[in-house]
Symmetry: C2
Subunit: 540 residues, 2 copies
């Protein structure tokens, strides 16, 4: 739909039509094209109800200009009934602190009070606003999203999870998206383009000016999970043979430095990285010194292809606020700041926890039911395979089960104790591997220790469970068999908990994701077969 | 044992005795008391083997002084056979990159090459060295620890997990510990004191000078998991009515600023917090301006009692590098820097993942087997209760199990599918609660959505499992019953996954810790009882 200049009548008809259909976004688009005088003219041609609806679509900035030209009586009526007018708020909204922002926004949206909803959102930091939007059902999310101005939308986009980000970005018109994108730092822009489907992403890329496009293309060429994917190019670089006083003069000309500038990068004539000049050093240095005298020449740069895990570890170990990123031949490419590293740590930890349940941390909590069902069914399918594996093991011992029904009653106890004991070792080893604290150098010591724990806990619980089983079913044989089975399963579980992550890693599979399911298969199979097998041998 | 000045003969006897007993630490302590000349005198009285052993105990710094006074032939022999001499390294040690530091250190220790082991450790950053120490079995850990000088030991202590930290600190003599403690920042010192048992911790506190002790006592009064527990007091504060040029002059006098200083704190005459002056702003401001003109007055301080989770969120949301901490009445108390926040995020994420398996993230990976067994048995005991709960449910249906053995074979499938489906919802809700994205405001929407997913996945897998069960056992009845049971269990599991974390939180229990075990109890009970119950009704 092209938004050509419409005549007054056409405008009025178009607005009335849109109001009737509830297309408020279209109304706002029309209003944006009009001068204050034209809006007043339009308002005067509408009935009171339509007037109020139109009024609620007018932004805070435009309100003042229109009010001055409006009939005072009408102005007062509109203001009094406006959806963000204090008088129209229900009394309970006053104890705002007890009501969460989610509830507040949803109540406002339900009552059609868009201005009020926007105001609540406006009070939040963009990342908090992003969190709030994610917590809204998709329809409400879109409804409030379409009312945000582009600058704010851009700031919020950066902080959204990938799936929500892509879907909201696609709801924007090309020009809105472009406006929003222009508010972003290059690294955030890279993230946005990567989150979009190929077509719109490419279009956004092409709409940038040549220089930005070149820089974006460079940055897009690095893997997301690498130093290149985390870096930004807003650093300030200086030469080593310059005086401190000149640097200070130069900085004063800039008036403001890029966010998170704690150090300047020192380079040579070919832009080769030489070291850093800390601001804290700069302000304490004599003005007539040379940069080369006060710079830190031994502050290591990060290679652009370093993995993001390694970047995280470097930042944590060396307590860095920012670090230079260089190409393999030492050319300064950009810098990584600690805020992005912190986000990356948080994302990885979320991914790990969600991944253990077979969930995607970047997914929309309110994705359509069918989409979510399909995603989750994958993990259920994997589990079904291991469940049938366990069932087939039990199936081997139908004879024993037919004769002694107590076996069927007790067998889940054996399997579940093994599962818990194994998952403890598994968790310990997965963390050890991630931190580099478990490797061939100390594997044997760990193995001995874990086997010791498995055996001791095995003995402890074997005795206890044996006693309970004996008391329950009055059979000494069942007590012996279940005790022995628990001991066997706990020792095997500990062994499996230690070996499974090592084996999975050898095959390039993340043990944090698949480890617990594989472990469960092992402990089920060992638990059922040892218990039912021993029973077959000794009790039949 | 008091280390009074000993005569030459006494010294020699004492050294020979200690060497024979393998008490190298004692040898080093004796050596430290001697001048270079006395060491040479001592060496000359020993046999070649003893000479070499003593030599290996001498620190790098003292070596040079002793070498000049030593008989050249003896000096050369000692150096050639020294345990860090390149010639004595096995050839494969050259491809250091393939061999992990853990292996390298352990091999060196095993061969008695302590100097070499110390050198490997010396190349690492303190936090990496701490990680390496944690990865060593306790005996080797102590052996290398006793050889570290106090300064280095202090830096490493900070980065150790609590349990390892406390045990290594207790291995040090009082004076060594005090030496090490003097290297630490106040916030690290607070952590160390908190990690020690009450007695030694108090002793360490009392050994500080009056001012430090007062500051420590203040900081110890805040909960560990609060802004007060994360803060340090090394900030620089300035007054608002001073000129920028004076600040620059003042900073130049300091020569170096505290680590991670990206901003100065602006206070009034009563030390009340007014705002911050960023270094990046300072270096770009005209020198004749006032601090009040260039400071950020709207940069919020954190309340000293704010929870560490909230501090993390603020740092992440507002991308801060440091923030002021104030008392409730606005007095500046200290500042929190992003490196400590990052550590706190990492620790919380580790605690969450370890906690899910009932493990303590601060525990020593190589704690004595009995200690570890006792700790882990708690979780196994909790699990045993739920396992017997499930068993008792099965026990209700012994009649059905006796008649149809296929029920015993298939029942774990029903329970485990419910467990997986429930854990997906549980994980989603726990994350949502932690991020504030799930609350009463959107609970109903989420409930409807999750029930939808549970029903759809329930139908999908019910059909599949029913078909498999029918093909396996040739009974249409069993197919119907297991299908229905799976549908029921998946819907209940989703409901439980949603409600359990909410209920646990209401009772003040962390849902991340106890959630999955409670869920498992529910899905087992519902799974077994629905499957066996339906079978009893329809198949008997």
């Amino acid at each position: 739909m092209s938004e050509e200049a419409l005549s007054v009548t056409e405008t009025r008809e178009s607005v009335v039509d849109s109001l009737a259909k509830g297309k408020f976004k279209r109304v706002r688009r029309i209003l944006r094209e009009l001068t204050a005088t034209e809006v007043v003219e339009l308002l005067n041609q509408l009935d009171p109800e339509q007037q109020q609806l139109v009024w609620n679509q007018i932004g805070d900035e435009e309100e003042q200009g229109i009010l001055t030209e409006l009939d005072p009586a009408l102005a007062e009526r509109l203001l009094t009934n406006s959806d963000d007018h204090p008088d129209t708020l229900e009394p309970e909204a006053e104890d705002d602190e007890d009501v969460s922002p989610i509830t507040q926004v949803r109540e406002a949206l339900e009552a059609g009070r868009f201005k009020r909803a926007l105001k609540i959102l406006g009070k939040l930091h963009p990342s908090q606003a992003a969190g709030l939007l994610e917590a809204l059902p998709p329809a409400e999310r879109s409804s409030i999203w379409s009312r945000l101005d582009s600058a704010r939308a851009g700031q919020i986009l950066v902080h959204l999870r990938e799936e929500v980000r892509a879907s909201l970005a696609l709801e924007m018109s090309d020009s809105e998206l472009l406006d929003a994108a222009h508010q972003l730092d290059l690294d955030d822009l890279v993230d946005l383009i990567q989150a979009l489907p190929f077509g719109p992403g490419r279009q956004l890329l092409l709409s940038m000016d040549v220089k930005t496009r070149q820089q974006l293309a460079d940055m897009l060429s690095y893997p997301e999970e690498s130093a290149g994917g985390l870096m930004n190019i807003d650093h300030i670089s200086v030469r080593a043979d310059v005086r401190v006083s000149s640097i200070l003069r130069y900085l004063r000309l800039l008036e403001d430095l890029p966010d998170h500038t704690d150090k300047l990068m020192v380079v040579d004539r070919e832009n080769r990285y030489l070291g850093v000049l800390r601001l804290s050093r700069l302000v304490t240095s004599p003005a007539d010194g040379l940069v080369s005298d006060v710079m830190d020449g031994d502050f290591k740069a990060l290679d652009v292809l370093m993995s993001s895990q390694e970047v995280q570890r470097q930042f944590e170990d060396l307590d860095m606020l920012s670090a230079a990123v260089t190409s393999p031949d030492g050319i300064l490419l950009g810098r990584i700041t600690v805020d992005d590293v912190m986000d990356s740590i948080r994302e990885d930890s979320e991914r790990a926890i969600m991944g253990m349940a077979g969930l995607d941390d970047e997914a929309d909590m309110f994705a359509p039911v069918l989409t979510s069902t399909r995603r989750r069914s994958v993990w259920l399918g994997c589990n079904l395979i291991t469940a049938f594996l366990a069932a087939s093991v039990i199936g081997q011992f139908q004879g024993a089960l037919e004769q002694i029904v107590a076996l069927a009653v007790l067998m889940p106890v054996v399997a579940s104790m093994g599962g818990i004991a194994g998952s403890q070792t598994l968790t310990l080893v997965i963390r050890g591997l991630a931190l580099g604290q478990v490797d061939t150098g100390n594997l044997k010591v760990l193995l001995v220790k874990e086997l010791g724990i498995g055996t001791l806990n095995g003995l402890l619980w074997a005795v206890l469970v044996a006693v309970v089983a004996f008391l329950w079913f009055g059979s000494l044989g069942i007590g012996w068999v279940i005790g022995l089975a628990i001991l066997i399963n706990l020792v095997c579980a500990v062994l499996a908990g230690l070996l499974i992550p090592l084996i999975l890693r050898r095959f390039g599979i993340d043990p944090a994701l698949a480890g617990s399911m594989v472990l469960m298969a092992v402990t089920d199979v060992v638990g059922f077969s040892s218990f039912l097998g021993l029973a077959t041998v000794f009790l039949l």
